[in-house]
């Protein structure tokens, strides 16, 4: 699949630190869905995800580099659907440092220094991006 560019409108959404849903697949095609705290904007062709714990997601990505991420834009009443492909893992450099600084700031306040820790910054290439507008929520959708 060819690469695509991230539109400028997605950057504030990513930088606002909104949680996202991420779907990966194992080598034998078994899917896994998880929630991630933040998708970092690297440049208009790359995004980064934090690798903090050894998890099913990490294992899947190392086996099968494709991933699907859904980022909610609360203010815009929309979500962004991104198809990504794992490219590399960084353990130093400016991207790693920026992500590490934020994680360590939180960890140090919450008594989790050394536990809540960035192991690597996983850099993904953006394969596709799509903005899906939601209908306005009136607050009565779940009313009986």
């Amino acid at each position: 699949m060819p690469m695509t560019r991230l539109p400028p409108e997605i950057r504030p959404v990513l930088e606002s630190g909104t949680p996202a849903a991420m779907v990966t697949c194992s080598a034998d095609g078994k899917p896994n869905t998880t929630v991630i705290s933040r998708v970092y904007y690297v440049d208009d062709m790359h995004a980064a995800l934090s690798f903090q714990f050894f998890s099913k997601t990490i294992r899947n990505v190392r086996e099968n580099p494709r991933a699907f991420v859904c980022v909610w834009d609360m203010a815009g009443h929309a979500h962004w659907a991104l198809q990504l492909e794992f490219e590399r893992s960084e353990t130093d450099g400016p991207i790693f440092d920026a992500m590490d600084m934020q994680i360590e700031a939180i960890a140090s306040m919450t008594g989790m220094s050394g536990i809540f820790k960035l192991r690597a910054a996983d850099i993904y290439r953006v394969l596709s991006v799509e903005r899906v507008q939601h209908p306005r929520w009136t607050g009565t959708e779940f009313a009986n």
């Binding site: 630190g17 705290s37 700031a105 140090s108 306040m109």
Partner: protein, 787 residues
Amino acid sequence: MSNQDSHRTVTELERKIAEVQILQRVSADINSTLDLDEICDAALRTMDELFEFHHANVLILEPDHRTLRVIASRGYENQAIGGRVQVGTGVIGMVAQKRRMMHVSNLGQQRAYAAAQRREMEKAGRGAQLGEAIPVPGLPNAESQIAIPLLIRDDLIGVFSIESPVPRSFGEHERDLVSIVANQIASAIHNARLYAERRQAAEALQEANASLEARVAERTAALERELRVAQALLSEARSRVEGPLLGGSAAVRQLRDGIARQAERNEPLLLTGPAGAGKEAVARAVHDGSGRAGAFIFVSCPEVNTQYRHAGDAMTSRDAEKSLIASRFELASGGTVFLDAVHELPQDLQRALHARLERDQDRRRRGEFEESGVRLIASTTHDVRQPPPGGFLPLFQLLIANRLNVPALTDRREDIPALVDHFVRRHARRLGKVIDGVSADSMRRLEAYSWPGNIRELRAVLERAVLLCRSTVLEVDEEQLNEAVAVGSYRLVSRLGSGGMGEVWLARHRFLVRPAAVKLIRHDVPPGAAREQLVRRFEREAQVTAGLRSPHTVQLYDFGANETGSFYYVMEFLNGLDLHHIGTRFGPQPAERVIALLRQACRSLAEAHGLGLVHRDIKPANLFVTRLGTEYDYVKILDFGVVKDQSGRDATVLSNQDIVHGTPAFMPPEIVMGETRIDGRADLYSLACTAYWVLTTHTVFEANTPAQMLLQHVQAPPVPPSKRSELPIPKQLEAILMMCLEKDPAKRPSSALQFESELARVPCDERWTNERAQKWWEVHAPEVVGE
């Protein structure tokens, strides 16, 4: 360009203009003040206008570089001024550690995420790995936070942090704006701190300057005072030391030779000789001739004594040694310390000084440097050829090993013309007078005079004569000489000795030309209670002695006060020796002689006791053995100065004093114990102690300190005198003496007369006859019987 595009462009342009205006204003505001509060106000206002952030903290890096302290806080309900954040903790701490701006826009969510992770770990039993949550100053419910390091030339000085409870993203442009403001804040804070530091330094400098100026002024004034005092002292010292070494007599030539020899030596030197003979001049000459680089320090031991006694219990002997002796040695470093009248130094200090000298001596023997490289020269008017009872103290033992005698003026009479010439010229020059010389009569008179006060007296007489002189030829008449040393109708001839009460002088009546002994109150007792007490004792002694008629009691001729206020009394002049000198010079005396002497003393005491008087200080030095006409070994009791009147006439005067009178080696136990009812039996105890000394030349008790001695009088049984003498002592004599030495007065003979009759019954192999006494004096002290 569509209308919509052009509208967007205009809006964008307006926004940027507004931003620039805000930045210009904040720049102006921040840079116009050095007040941290005003800087923070301006920064917060800017953050509000630009990003609608209402909460801000400014933190400063502490000198330890591990902590940040909140110095300004805006928008918080509970301001966190003074709150601290560890570098590396939380957003602010991490910004300080990494020195990079951080923007967090989902703090709540991240905290929640971390909290969820904690819960998971606790559930999984890994809670022990978790640390304590650390609170940091700021909004508890902040969603967005930007923290910017405040840097001055790459040095971190603090962190600027703004927070909002609303989630907020920041683009690159907004981050740049925040950075600009942060840079302004950093500069302003830096400037403010520099200004504060410099102002503080300037104030400190000003304060230090003022203090320094005051100290310099104070020190200058003190130095000027010291200089004036030093100049006066130097001038006075020069006047004292000029002259005494002039002359060509054999005595002064010998003295100059001695000085030259002594100048090459380092060990302590004792200068002996009468008062006023020029011992200080000799000490200075030895110092000058030695080429020593240090100072010559004069120490008056009578003054040291006074200071020591005035300090009382407030000063231990160690303190006294430090402040009164060691300090002088420090001052003289490499020079000479001159202890004038060293016999007046308190015994404690003598011991301390002796220890110091021994240390120096050991070092000299080992070829090492001495502690201070100071040479000690001491002077005394005491006759060091005669050790006192119990021997010399260690200091004197050490000092007398190297001594130099300074002759009396009468031993160098041929120097008088040269000395007179010198002093007259000097005094005349000082007073601006022209005096060509001294008349021949006056010179003859000066040469013939006895000069009891030696060169000091000569200088004083000439000074006075020059002052009164109205011609170019100086006249010194008899009156001027007499006036210098006259008391009442008596002219003082020479000093016979000195003691606790004062000095005793040989004197002659102006008209009767009868020799007499004049006792003077010491002149160095300062006015005050001690002096008044001494004067009262003096008067009492004179009155009591005048009332006694026994031929064995010294006869009083006169008493009173002279023009200078000194008290004196004149008593018969006795030619002979006291028992102390007899025992010291000639050793233990035969029992029959002691009995003969004691019986006479008993007769004197019997009269005094009969009048209700107790002597209280009977001792060998107060039993004077003289020749009276053809009678040799005639005893006279001296020194009724501490007599106690039993009749009660003046009992309170003496008995109310908190002073123990007497001499420790001869003191009866009831006086030691401070009993108020003392009778004649106290004197019998002391008389027995005296007899013990003359028979054995040992005191009844021997001790290292007066206190120990006194204690033994109260507690210890005496050793019989026969055990301590090689001469035979009749048993009956020993028995009667041991009876007198009973602690309980009731067990002693009831009176002096009973004691005398007991002594009369003691059988002796040989009798002590007048012929034996005459022979003894002719052999042992021909100068006494020859006069």
